[in-house]
C-alpha cells in the first residue's frame, strides 16, 4: 500500500484512495475510462463499491443495475462481489468478456 493512499479527511474520517477503470460498453456508457476515488473506509468490497457507484444515479444507476451483468477485477485478477478492496488497489469494472 502506498503511504499517501490512506489519508484522513477534514473530519478525521478514514478515506481510501483507489483507481477504478471501466472498459468497453461500461466505459462508453459512463463517459470515462478511469476515475480516482477517495472512498469512505466502510466501502471495502467490490459489491460495496458497485452499490456506491450505482447510487450516483443516471447512467451509473443503469450501468450498475442489479440485473446488468458486470464483471470486476482487483489488481488485474478477476474478482467476486465479496472480494476486498484496500487503499492503492486498481479496481476494474467491465461487461462479460467476448474475445477469442
Amino acid at each position: 500500500m502506498c503511504a499517501s493512499c490512506r489519508t484522513l479527511s477534514y473530519f478525521g474520517e478514514m478515506r481510501v484512495k483507489v483507481t477504478v477503470l471501466f472498459f468497453a460498453a461500461l466505459r462508453e456508457q459512463l463517459g470515462r475510462p478511469r476515475e480516482e476515488l477517495d472512498l469512505p473506509s466502510n466501502i471495502n468490497t467490490i459489491g460495496g463499491l458497485r452499490d456506491h457507484l450505482r447510487a450516483r444515479g443516471g447512467a451509473w444507476a443503469s450501468a450498475f443495475a442489479p440485473n446488468r451483468a458486470v464483471r470486476a477485477a482487483v489488481n488485474q485478477d478477476m474478482a467476486q462481489p465479496a472480494a476486498a478492496i484496500k487503499a492503492g488497489d486498481e479496481v476494474a469494472f467491465f461487461p462479460p468478456v467476448t474475445g477469442g
Binding site: 472498459f23 488485474q76 461487461p95 468478456v97 467476448t98 474475445g99 477469442g100
Partner: protein, 142 residues
C-alpha cells in the same frame, strides 16, 4: 511459452516452427480464430490480459504435457477474414496437444479481458457474451 497481445498480424507457420524445434516434440496442435462477416474493434485491458492468458497457459501445463506454447491475440481494428487469435501447443503426443489447445481457447473466451464491437451499416454494437462459451469452459471442470 510465448504470450503476445498485439495489433499486428501473425504468421501461423512461423509460430508453429518456433515451438517445434525440440526433437522430443512429436505433435503441435494449433487453432486460429478469424473475423466472421463484419468489421470489428477489439478492446482489451492492457496488463491484465497478458496475465490472464499466462494463468490459463499455466493451468493447461499443469493438466497436460505442454512442452511449449504460443498464444497471440490481436486488438484494434479488424476486417472480415482477418486472423484474431492463435493458440499453438507443442507436446510429445497429439492427445495432450489437442486437449491443451482446446482448453486454452475455451478459457480464453471466458476469462481473458477482451471485448468485441461490431461495426454494421446500422451502427456499432458491443457483442454480448454467449452462454455456450461458459458451458464450453465449464466442461473442463468435470
Amino acid at each position: 511459452m510465448k504470450v503476445a497481445v498485439q495489433r499486428e498480424d501473425f504468421d501461423l507457420g512461423a509460430e508453429v516452427r518456433a515451438i517445434s524445434k525440440d526433437s522430443k516434440v512429436g505433435a503441435v496442435a494449433s487453432f486460429v480464430g478469424l473475423v466472421r462477416d463484419v468489421r470489428m474493434t477489439l478492446e482489451h485491458y492492457p496488463g491484465m490480459t497478458e496475465n490472464a492468458i499466462r494463468g490459463i497457459v499455466d493451468q493447461a501445463a499443469s493438466r497436460w504435457q505442454v512442452m511449449d506454447c504460443t498464444v497471440i491475440h490481436r486488438y484494434g481494428e479488424l476486417q472480415p477474414n482477418d486472423q484474431i487469435v492463435l493458440v499453438a501447443v507443442a507436446s510429445a503426443h497429439r492427445g495432450d496437444a489437442f486437449a491443451a489447445c482446446e482448453f486454452i481457447m475455451d478459457y480464453l473466451k471466458t476469462q481473458a479481458p477482451f471485448w468485441k464491437k461490431e461495426h454494421r451499416a446500422g451502427g456499432a454494437t458491443w457483442v454480448e457474451a454467449k452462454a455456450a462459451d461458459d458451458e464450453a469452459a465449464g466442461r473442463w471442470k468435470k
